[in-house]
Symmetry: C2
Subunit: 168 residues, 2 copies
Amino acid sequence: MTDDIVASVVRQWQAVNPELDTGPMELIGRINRCAALLQQAEDAPLRAAGLTRAEFDLLGAVRRTDRELTPGELARETFSSGAAVTKRLRVLQERGLVDRRSDDRDRRVNHIRLTGQGRELVDTLLPRQLAYERAVLSGLDEQSRTRLSAQLSELLVQLEGRIGGGRR
Amino acid sequence: MTDDIVASVVRQWQAVNPELDTGPMELIGRINRCAALLQQAEDAPLRAAGLTRAEFDLLGAVRRTDRELTPGELARETFSSGAAVTKRLRVLQERGLVDRRSDDRDRRVNHIRLTGQGRELVDTLLPRQLAYERAVLSGLDEQSRTRLSAQLSELLVQLEGRIGGGRR
DNA sequence: AACAGGTGTTACACATGTAAAACATTTCTC
DNA sequence: GAGAAATGTTTTACATGTGTAACACCTGTT
């Protein structure tokens, strides 16, 4: 059994102060570190397409909901601030990937939709992205992956209730 | 069994394109989302002490290794760029939490150490931080946590080999 | 002595969040 | 009903934190 980085950090803390209950660190540290490595890996194929992950998330949100979304909805959907969404939308619009339509009833709101080009980009990019991710995860067999998913789902439900406040 | 956010996103994708193999998304999405929520939670007690998580990580690295570290070592230890470490060290030094000593042999390198105040801050803050994290994770019982830790460790070892390149 | 390589800092670009502003709508009050 | 106040939506202004790349400096080698 090999040691991961978190285990060695925990060992350092124990050596310095054996009283510490490092239990939470072992779990949270591993989640954070896995997330950092995975996010770094995920960036590679997107950069090849000239997109940041945040931009891709935004496009994906419009694509998967399959309807027009307002900037506010996009902010909630992608867990980012309204200001960040505004900026991203501007560059995506300049690149011809999204389009706006203003509401007839309420002139405050816009409706964002994908252009044909934007939709095509997501539809070619997402399978490629998923294939890449599958390769990154290939060190774990199917069973380990689903088991891990299920346990993280349990944790995630707890955290959403305790911290996130829920969305929508 | 309640649905988490990732499950609902996956369902949206399946509705739009049933061909998609969303397997990787379910695992990676959950890891990323858990990490985001946990990091947000972790920030709260640190902000109360006037520190960012990055600053606390840096102080913690010096404390747990129990020796003086160079800025370069700190950058590797905290997985951030040299420039970021330089900036952080400047503000931590201005606040009197760290101290520098220049090497006698090699005048390029500095050795960073905690001041008494810095060490005291870490030593009071870390247990508080761990207690807070324990509370956040209290939705899962001991057994679930250790099982999850172990499985993530397995994944992490794979990822470190595949992506991270290892450290030290 | 020149140079190849390593170490830390600075300069710059950029993405993000918070807070304020700009604008539209709805509701309340008289 | 008309005007005022409250509410909602998006954008803009500003501050901040980060990474890349250029820079300055030092060492050891040839």
